[in-house]
Amino acid sequence: MLVAEDVHRHFEGMHAVDGVSLEVPRGQITGLIGPNGAGKSTFMAVVAGTLPASSGTILFEGEDITRLPTYRRARRGLVRTFQLPSEFARLTVLENLLVAAPQNRGDSLFGALMGKRFWIKDEERLVTEARGLLKRFGMSAKESDYAGLMSGGQKRLIEIMRALMLHPRCLLLDEPMSGVHPRVIEQIQHYLQSLRADGLTILMVEHELHLVEQLCDSVFVMAQGKLIGSGTMASLRRQREIVDAYLVG
């Protein structure tokens, strides 16, 4: 589904991602763990295209996408979220979701100039869809508030819902649940699992190992820019150096 081959990314001599090769299997939730500064976010950024790779190849559904700009990757269904809040602050929560929707006749200069009647059907359909997501994540009451005024956890939810509005085929989540209330985490978990059942592929960075254990089918471990292990969480726990790297890092 998603394959990285010998991906490097350095920042002037600093090797943030140093030769990572891995394959994310289709229809599974895959974890990516490692100590702070291991290069996980950098790797995700390179895969999504928000940072160019210094070298290496990224294949998505069998096609080389290394040179594809970010927005084209997103349109193909490879969508990332950000570790830091990246909400559109002076758009409402609902608008944040609507922006992400790809199929809107009014989302072009031509469509806009054609006027409301040209695009209102699409808009109404998307509003219904977005409200469904908001309801699911318990944020219906906030739909008309500016996203910039939401709490840290709420912003995380916006981040996830926004990505889901694109109907991605592969979702890259960078610490989607940090700072989110345990009950909401549970809801996110259930939802991600139901999406997996529908065939969505997910690669997820997460520090809470028990969440990784519950959710992820398999896990990759990174430290100092390199991939140092992979397997199920249970098998990884038995590997000495991986435990060390995690604790020491």
Partner: protein, 331 residues
């Protein structure tokens, strides 16, 4: 107050409204800090001028040199002005908007504005250099009498039609899903990109649309003034338009109109009034006008950065937050 004075005021107001609406699309909605805005207005003015003037070899025009001189009838010069603004936006946008960080974009455009003025000022054969163009024909001047109140009314009418047209286009863009995408890009470009939006295409489009509208505003202005020179489009003119938008309310078309009436038109009038009342030395007042505009910008950015009429919060029908809906509706 005589008719000419009133007409002058109204036409300036119309031109400024058109310009600030365009700047709102670029800066207020899309976040492009187009510090060379006035260059696009100038391009439209020059284009309209050389499209309507006879060749510079014509008897009455031989005191100036310029390219073109096609003597085309109205409304071709105005359309040509808009086209010139749009065409100029393509190369400038391609250089500036593609790779540069947004604050570099702003300074690159500022420098472009200063340099463009220097070049036109010094390159006399192109558009008559520092002296500028004069005797630019007025729209329809071969069909109607241009001396008289009725021509003024006609000109006001033509300007008003353009204001209406631009307002209509701007409103459609701002209130559409496309406008929402532009605002999202303004708020967080990287996130918008990660959601499948192509920021370069969005910015280029708004640069070209804004350039066309700016060009049209220049064409309207030059048809009324009948003269146009580098000294009329120095870079501070762009700052006045920014001041108007910041005061009126970025992202709000009504705010843009309000700002255009308050700042460029208002300041012009106050200055004119003060000069007529002979307060202080004559050079002092225009200088202080600029200082006041600077203070206006700083003051609004400090105390009320969202402007007099802030960008409206979009509340969708059926929002559970009914109270909010009411509050917005009555606001």
């Amino acid at each position: 107050m005589n008719t000419y004075y009133a007409a002058n005021l109204l036409i300036y107001a119309g031109v400024d409204i058109i310009a600030v609406l365009a700047l709102n699309l670029q800066f207020g909605v899309s976040g492009i800090v187009n510090f060379s805005f006035i260059v696009f207005q100038a391009a439209g003015a020059y284009a309209a001028a050389v499209l309507s003037m006879p060749p510079h070899t014509a008897a009455e025009y031989s005191f100036q040199v310029y390219v073109g001189g096609y003597q085309l009838p109205f409304p071709i010069p105005w359309i040509g002005g808009a086209l010139a603004g749009a065409l100029l936006a393509i190369p400038v946008g391609l250089v500036v908007l593609r790779k540069l960080r947004s604050d570099y974009q702003a300074i690159a455009l500022l420098v472009t504005s200063i340099i463009a003025n220097t070049v036109i000022n010094n390159a006399r054969p192109f558009l008559n250099g520092a002296a500028g163009l004069a005797l630019i024909p007025q729209p329809l001047q071969d069909q109607v009498d241009t001396y008289g109140d009725s021509y003024l009314y006609l000109y006001i009418g033509l300007t008003a039609v353009c204001v209406g047209l631009v307002w209509f286009l701007a409103a459609r863009i701002v209130n559409s899903p496309y406008g929402r995408t532009l605002r999202a890009m303004r708020e967080h470009e990287l996130a918008a990109t990660a959601l499948g939006k192509n920021p370069v295409a969005l910015k280029m489009t708004m640069f070209i649309v804004g350039g066309a509208i700016a060009g049209l505003s220049g064409a309207i202005l030059v048809g009324f003034l009948t003269v146009w020179a580098p000294s009329t489009w120095l870079y501070p003119e762009t700052i006045i338009l920014f001041a108007a938008l910041i005061v009126g309310g970025r992202g709000n078309n009504l705010g843009a109109i309000l700002g255009a009436l308050l700042v460029p038109v208002g300041f012009e009038e106050v200055t004119r009034l003060l000069i007529r009342m002979n307060i202080g030395p004559p050079n002092l007042i225009p200088a202080l006008e600029w200082v006041a505009i600077g203070l206006f910008i700083l003051g609004f950015l400090w105390f009320r950065p969202e402007g007099v009429r802030p960008e409206p919060r979009r509340v969708f029908e059926g929002s559970p937050d009914v109270e909010v809906v009411d509050r917005v509706r009555t606001a």
